[in-house]
């Protein structure tokens, strides 16, 4: 078997992993299974990074998203609410419509961004310096602002988490 076809097969395997994992994540009523689906999708994404010849990104994807974020999601919800309290939340048609609108809007914005962007042809093998040192320097100098903005997103998430728990306490949900 040629080397090229083997990598093609892996590429499609990763795609199947991502789509299947995402489907499990949104359709499973059991939280644990949903998170496993999410982890699977993350693994698939890491595989795609590997396919694009960026092992550093792939490993970071596994370390951060599979190793930390997925665990935090499960942990947060398991500690936060008992199944009884979760069942008390009635999910009616209003929620379905809101969810549909939100996801369609997100899809529209992403699609807009994708179609408007002028895509630059990537340089071939050996075209750019992709070493760890070059990556670090680029993040700290040229893309410094973007790098710092990501940490602002993290801070907003933390403030949001605090706000949600405060509201929960006030409503006696604890």
């Amino acid at each position: 078997m040629a080397y090229g076809t083997l990598t093609e097969i892996f590429f499609y395997l990763f795609i199947i992993m991502i789509v299947f994992g995402a489907l499990v994540a949104v359709s499973s009523p059991i939280l644990m299974k949903a998170v496993m689906g999410l982890a699977m999708a993350m693994f698939g994404t890491a595989g795609l990074y590997l396919y694009l010849n960026s092992p550093f990104l792939a490993l970071m994807q596994i370390l951060i998203y599979v190793g930390a974020v997925c665990i935090m999601i499960v942990f947060g919800i398991m500690v936060g609410y008992t199944p009884k309290q979760l069942a008390a939340y009635a999910i009616g048609p209003k929620n379905t419509i809101l969810a549909l609108v939100t996801s369609l809007l997100t899809l529209g914005v992403l699609q807009l961004g994708l179609s408007r962007t002028q895509w630059v042809q990537a340089q071939g093998a050996g075209g750019g310096d992709c070493s760890l040192a070059a990556l670090g320097e680029a993040l700290m100098t040229r893309y410094g602002l973007a790098f710092e903005l990501i940490s602002v997103v993290l801070m907003i998430a933390m403030v949001g988490a605090v706000a949600i728990t405060w509201n929960g306490k006030r409503r006696g949900l604890k």
């Binding site: 080397y3 059991i30 644990m32 299974k33 496993m36 982890a39 092992p55 550093f56 490993l59 970071m60 596994i62 370390l63 599979v66 190793g67 930390a68 997925c70 665990i71 935090m72 499960v74 942990f75 398991m78 500690v79 070493s131 760890l132 040192a133």
Partner: protein
């Protein structure tokens, strides 16, 4: 068949065989050392000084039925042991056993190992949750909280070595210890790393997730037969990985008194150092009592993290100055 594929298959077989062998050696070591610490002979029946006992135990475990408890999530329950075992094998692929004994040479092998060991927590989470058992769930909670907390001082102490060597390649880090081992200039980082390693692998005195006297066996209470063995193998493989990273980062890896065929026989020094550290781990387990859970968290957040941060800061300043 392409030679590269053949090489990968041979490597995979060797690595899995070594993981099993390692569990046998450590299992024997643990029982023998604990016995001698408690002034009793320990394993004596099967083979001379009981060396064949672990083989018999292994056969017994293979022969046992895997009981799936009532009301558990069947799929996740069966998935968890595999999920725990598979990532624990992978770090062995990049470990530098000697100058030329390394299966895959990566320039980010340290990150690879850290990423693979971080998957183990998810396996514990799945195992504890799928068992539908309160002891398992308690063990899981403790284990995850502990692993997530102790990962921070561990990474910070590794980072201070990375600042000195400015490479993530394990061979590169060994090469940087040409004149002295890094334990001499980073003793605090070594101590912090070793303590966090004990906690990460759920070893006593931090074995809260498996505390026998309160939780039966923690997250793997419901597992029998090979399900249990996979967790057992994974734990010992993880211990080996933690100790070999310590060896590479602080104790000069495969370096030692030169032997003939030095490119390959470095494995002797590597194994000697790793099993020396593993002996210390076992020694600690049978010497110190288990800590309380709040003590465990206090120790991590109020002592280890500030100390490792200070160590990192001082290292950064010194590296910049020199």
């Amino acid at each position: 068949m392409p030679p590269e594929l053949l090489r990968m298959i041979i490597a995979a077989v060797l690595v899995v065989a070594f993981v099993f062998l390692n569990a046998m050696i450590l299992g024997y070591m643990e029982r023998k050392v604990s016995a001698h610490i408690q002034r009793r002979p320990g394993l004596m029946e099967v083979g001379p000084h009981g060396v064949l006992q672990l083989i018999v135990d292994g056969l017994k475990l293979i022969g046992k039925q895997l009981v799936v408890p009532e009301g558990s999530n069947k799929f996740l329950f069966r998935l968890a042991p595999v999920l725990s075992f598979a990532p624990c094998v992978l770090p062995f692929v990049v470990l530098p056993f000697a100058r030329k004994l390394q299966i895959v040479s990566m320039d980010i092998s340290l990150i690879f190992i850290l990423a693979m060991t971080s998957i183990n927590v998810i396996a514990i989470l799945v195992a504890g949750w799928a068992s539908n058992n309160k002891y398992s769930l308690f063990g899981t909670f403790r284990s995850v909280a502990q692993a997530v907390s102790y990962e921070i001082p561990m990474l910070l102490s590794i980072l201070s070595i990375i600042l000195i060597t400015s490479t993530f390649s394990l061979q590169g880090i060994i090469a940087a210890q040409k004149y002295y081992w890094f334990i001499l200039i980073q003793p605090l980082a070594f101590i912090i790393y070793f303590i966090s390693g004990l906690a990460e692998t759920n070893r006593a005195p931090f074995d809260m997730p498996e505390a026998e006297s309160e939780l039966t066996a923690g997250f793997h209470t419901e597992y029998s037969g090979m399900g249990f063995s996979f967790f057992f193998l994974a734990e010992y493989a993880n211990m080996f990985t933690v100790c070999s990273i310590a060896t590479v980062l602080f104790l000069g890896g495969w370096k030692g008194i030169p032997l003939p065929l030095g490119d390959y026989t470095g494995i002797f020094w590597f194994m000697l150092k790793v099993y020396g550290l593993l002996f210390v781990m076992i020694w600690v387990r049978w010497t110190y009592p288990r800590v309380r859970f709040d003590q465990l968290m206090t120790f991590c957040w109020k002592y280890l993290i500030p100390f490792s941060l200070a160590n990192l800061l001082i290292t950064a300043v010194l590296v910049k100055l020199i």
